[in-house]
């Protein structure tokens, strides 16, 4: 098929519809002037305006004109095609028109919203309408192809969002591949002692879900693993997963932990990642008692065997012979139809705010460290103690560290006020210390959240409104000796205060994972400028991405607490299930094609195609595009030295006439 062979024959009948979008467009563009110009353009048989073209009556105007035979192609001048191109194409199809005989002129985002002067805005609208009309004259009827959707799903990240999405999909009878890079699932939630505002035990509500993941017949769980390759498209992704060697055979290990006892290191010596460095672990370890899977892992960086200095007592003591130092990294490939990304967040590095003394003063902690301290299964058995082992008599919690700060992150991390309240309550309960919360604003919207704040006020926690200037060990008075001094402006009292405390807790904000940019490249989605994965629409498509079949769940999309993460994970699962239930996807016909007569068989396109969609017809020695694999990226079209490659909806003719339309007008 070649669109170029079939030029418009002068009988084309274009309908032009200018949308007011309420006052969004009409407030800046003289609509009637644009209609008048459109009427005079060659090929235009109908030019109309309407208040909301996207509304049902608006769509009906187009449909009636098609049915009356007044028009055979349509230009709508309104908003971005990202918004309503599918709406108008759908309207045309319902009236038995071909939906690809359509072109949109964006006079809202590209004109009225960004132009101050009414005259200039009207001029630009006219030019864009002229361009769209010139272009649509060369449009051809095209048809969408359908491909089946693979019902399996890949979920990346085993925190609470990934776990909830996995269980929802698996319970609906779908096959789930859950990939987690740590040795255990559970994510940040597994590290918390209590959850706000109900103060229920985090582990008690999380670990049953973790076990359910492990036991579910529809879930394949790969921990200590990374996704390393993503090919294909919605409904038909090919995924490569790298399983890193844990040097313990997962199917054999029963989690008796005898190997850890037997290790030549009698005590933990290396940074315990799960306890954020507050404890030491051995080279062979399980991250925490309810780790899932409960399988030991050997860290080759620290294990003496890998430096030929150990007779492997761990292997000798294992009755199941589960320890295997010859384990190699393994790559597995699976086919899935949809992907849910639930890769989570990282906490802000508090040492970046040097004036708060993290890393300099031993009794300055991050909130995540204190989560471990208050946790009964943590390094101190739930005791909140100072570096010298004593209980603190006074504790300051500093809010917004790495949030709402032009020097680090401008956004509010959303969870810190609430978890600071929770930590204030727990610290007070465990130590009876005086607790001071230094806040900018208390942000407690959520079910039961404001009530929790009220409760803390009644519990006698001190709240001081003002961003802390610095944490210092500079004593001005005798009662400040040997203490950490908080210097802050108390903005309610209007005074600068110095408050000496024993312990400082920095309420660190949430940031995108450090490798979020690599991940988004692999899955072909976008990041916002703060690094969070970008949803398709902030309000109306919050779990979809601009790549069909890839959905988002949890804090990888932006700061979120547990209830929000779970809700979003459920929504992502529902979207994926809807895709599977329809059973097929329609592919845009914006594929490339080859004009044989111009093709010299140079193979430039074949080598450059990122989807391996181009082959060579050996008989004719010309290139051939496989329409099912072509994603319409246009790379081959740009690369072709002889112009043999063209792309539907983006033919040279269409683009040049579009440019001509603008230029003629200008």
């Amino acid at each position: 098929m070649s669109s170029l062979d079939n030029k418009h024959n002068g009988s084309a009948r274009v309908g032009v519809y200018i949308c007011h979008c309420g006052i969004n467009i009409a407030g800046k563009v003289h609509i009637q002037d644009v209609v008048d110009i459109a009427k005079k353009l060659p090929g235009v048989t109908v030019a109309k305006e309407y208040k909301f073209m996207c509304s049902d009556p608006g769509q009906e105007i187009i449909q009636e004109d098609i049915k009356k035979g007044l028009i055979d192609r349509v230009v709508v001048a309104s908003c971005s095609p990202l918004m309503h191109e599918p709406t108008f194409r759908g309207a045309m199809a319902k009236a038995d028109g071909n939906p690809f005989m359509f072109q949109m002129a964006n006079i809202r985002e590209h004109v009225s919203w960004v132009t101050k002067d009414k005259g200039l805005a009207t001029d630009k609208s006219k030019a864009l309408v002229a361009a769209a009309v010139a272009r649509v004259m060369f449009h051809q009827p095209l048809t969408k192809t359908q491909v089946p959707v693979n019902p399996n799903v890949l979920i990346v990240g085993g925190g609470i969002a990934g776990i909830h999405a996995a269980l929802t999909m698996a319970n609906a009878g779908k096959k789930v591949y859950l990939v987690e890079r740590e040795p255990t699932i559970g994510g940040h939630m597994a590290k918390f002692d209590k959850t706000f505002p109900t103060l229920d035990c985090s582990a008690c509500i999380l670990t049953p879900k973790m076990s359910a993941v492990r036991a579910h017949p529809n879930i394949t769980l790969w921990t200590y693993s990374d996704v390393v390759g993503v090919d294909g498209f919605v409904g038909n992704f090919k995924i490569k997963v790298k399983l890193r060697p844990r040097y313990v055979i997962e199917e054999e290990c029963v989690g008796c932990l005898e190997c850890i006892e037997a290790c030549i290191f009698k005590h933990g010596k290396f940074k315990d990642e799960f306890n954020v460095g507050l404890a030491k672990r051995k080279p062979i370890y399980v991250p925490f008692p309810q780790a899932t899977p409960l399988v030991a892992v050997i860290d080759p960086e620290t294990c003496a065997y890998f430096r030929a200095k150990c007779k492997k007592p761990c292997a000798d003591v294992c009755e199941k012979k589960a320890i295997d130092f010859n384990q190699k990294e393994e790559i597995v490939e699976v086919d899935v139809g949809s992907i849910i990304l639930a890769t989570g967040f990282k906490t802000f590095d508090a040492s970046r705010v040097a004036r708060y003394g993290y890393g300099k003063y031993p009794n300055v902690y991050t909130s995540l460290e204190v989560e471990r301290l208050v946790n009964a299964a943590g390094p101190t058995g739930g005791e909140v103690v100072l570096a010298n082992g004593k209980k603190p008599k006074s504790v300051a919690i500093i809010h917004c560290v790495g949030s709402r700060d032009a020097n680090s992150n401008k956004y509010c991390s959303k969870v810190c006020c609430m978890y600071s309240l929770k930590l204030a309550h727990l610290v007070k309960e465990r130590t009876e210390a005086d607790v001071y919360n230094f806040y900018i604003d208390m942000r407690t919207p959520g079910k039961g959240y404001e009530e929790f704040y009220e409760r803390l006020l009644l519990e006698g926690i001190n709240f001081i409104r003002g961003r802390v200037a610095e944490v210092t060990d500079w004593a001005m008075t005798p009662d400040e000796e040997e203490k950490l001094v908080i210097r802050a402006e108390d903005t309610l009292v209007g005074k600068v205060r110095r408050i000496p405390v024993d312990m400082v807790v920095l309420a660190v904000g949430m940031e995108a994972q450090p490798d979020a940019d690599d991940v988004r490249r692999m899955f072909n989605i976008s990041c916002s400028h703060e690094g969070w994965f970008l949803e398709r629409h902030p309000k109306l498509a919050p779990v979809s991405t601009l790549t069909d079949g890839v959905f988002l769940a949890g804090a990888c999309q932006g700061p979120k607490d547990i209830p929000d993460s779970v809700a979003q994970a459920g929504a992502a699962a529902a979207e994926a299930l809807a895709l599977i239930d329809i059973g097929h996807v329609e592919l845009e016909p914006n594929t490339a094609f080859v004009r044989d007569e111009f093709c010299s068989g140079c193979r430039t396109c074949m080598n450059i195609c990122p989807f391996s969609a181009i082959a060579i017809d050996t008989e004719k020695d010309t290139a051939v595009v496989n329409g099912a694999l072509c994603k319409g990226c246009g790379t081959c079209v740009a690369a072709c030295p002889s112009g043999a490659l063209q792309q539907n909806l983006f033919t040279d003719e269409q683009i040049f006439h579009e440019i001509e339309g603008v230029m003629n007008y200008v």
Partner: protein
């Protein structure tokens, strides 16, 4: 890298010892630093507060003179030892280069004087140059005098790190500490190193200004410092000149030498006290703190 020296008003008057020691130290390190010819006021404080544009034009003239004196070479640094000059020049450069409307006005003024503004002159503080352009080991090797008894409190003040932090952290700068460790001296941990010295309040509301200076001096002494080094003429003046007045006002004995960092550095490099302007101090560095060093071996070890 070509260096041109911008003295500004202080280094020719109250801060004369800064100029003497800065020139002596750079000479000892073999660094050529010609004075900018026909330089004018940097446009600090008074101009900046009343008419920013005039201030930018003044700094713009200095920057354009530097470009001319360096024959339009791409790599020229205009070195300003005075913190206020450094900030004034840096700010002007940023505003001229970021805002075309400011640039065209400044250019208009410069053109009337037969000059033109060029982007490539770098504005550097002398501390930045001595710490970042010199291998610190080569500085250690040049140490001739052992000042091991010196416990140094390094004081930055506000202007060389805020609002711009071109070569060090805004809140916890460490350049001077690194330099004095290279020179074989002990530095004390003193978290007040960027806290206000009182600035011009010392002259206007002396009760407030002197209290701010006093807090710094008292805490430095408490932390075991026996000398404070500064990189700013106003800081040096505030911290040193009112010590006897502070002693009376706050009923405390305040007595600690406050030198320019180049003065103490010069002493370690074996430069005679007089050449460093040390005889100008109100609170002198005691005689006999120097003892000959064996190369720089003791420092390296």
């Amino acid at each position: 890298m070509k260096y041109l020296y911008y003295p500004g008003c202080s280094l020719k008057s109250t801060g004369r010892a800064y100029e003497e020691s800065a020139l002596a130290v750079t000479e000892a390190l073999g660094m050529r630093m010609d004075e900018l010819e026909d330089w004018n006021c940097c446009g600090a404080t008074n101009y900046m507060s009343i008419s920013e544009l005039k201030s930018f034009a003044l700094s713009g003239r200095n920057l354009s003179l530097a470009n001319r004196q360096a024959n339009n070479t791409e790599s020229v640094s205009l070195v300003a030892p005075c913190a206020a000059c450094y900030l004034g020049l840096t700010k002007a450069k940023r505003y001229i280069e970021e805002y075309p409307e400011i640039r065209s006005k400044v250019d208009g003024a410069l053109n009337a004087a037969g000059l033109e503004y060029r982007d490539h002159v770098r504005v550097r503080h002398l501390l930045d140059v001595l710490v970042n352009d010199f291998d610190q080991r080569s500085i250690t090797e040049r140490v001739k005098v052992k000042l091991a008894g010196m416990k140094v409190a390094c004081y930055y003040g506000c202007q060389i790190v805020r609002p711009y932090s071109e070569f060090d952290d805004q809140h916890n700068p460490t350049s001077m500490e690194r330099l004095f460790k290279s020179l074989g001296m002990d530095v004390v941990d003193w978290p007040l190193k960027t806290r206000c010295c009182g600035g011009t309040l010392t002259g206007t509301v002396s009760e407030v200004g002197q209290r701010l200076s006093y807090i710094l001096l008292r805490e430095a002494t408490r932390r075991g410092a026996n000398v404070i080094v500064t990189a700013c003429p106003l800081c040096q003046f505030n911290l040193e000149c009112y010590q006897s007045e502070m002693s009376k006002r706050f009923n405390d004995s305040v007595h600690i030498p406050v030198t320019y960092f180049t003065q103490l550095m010069g002493l370690a490099l074996g430069i005679p006290r007089k050449k460093l302007g040390l005889h100008r101090l109100f609170v002198p560095i005691p005689d006999g703190v120097e003892s000959p060093a064996a190369g720089g071996a003791h420092v390296l070890a």
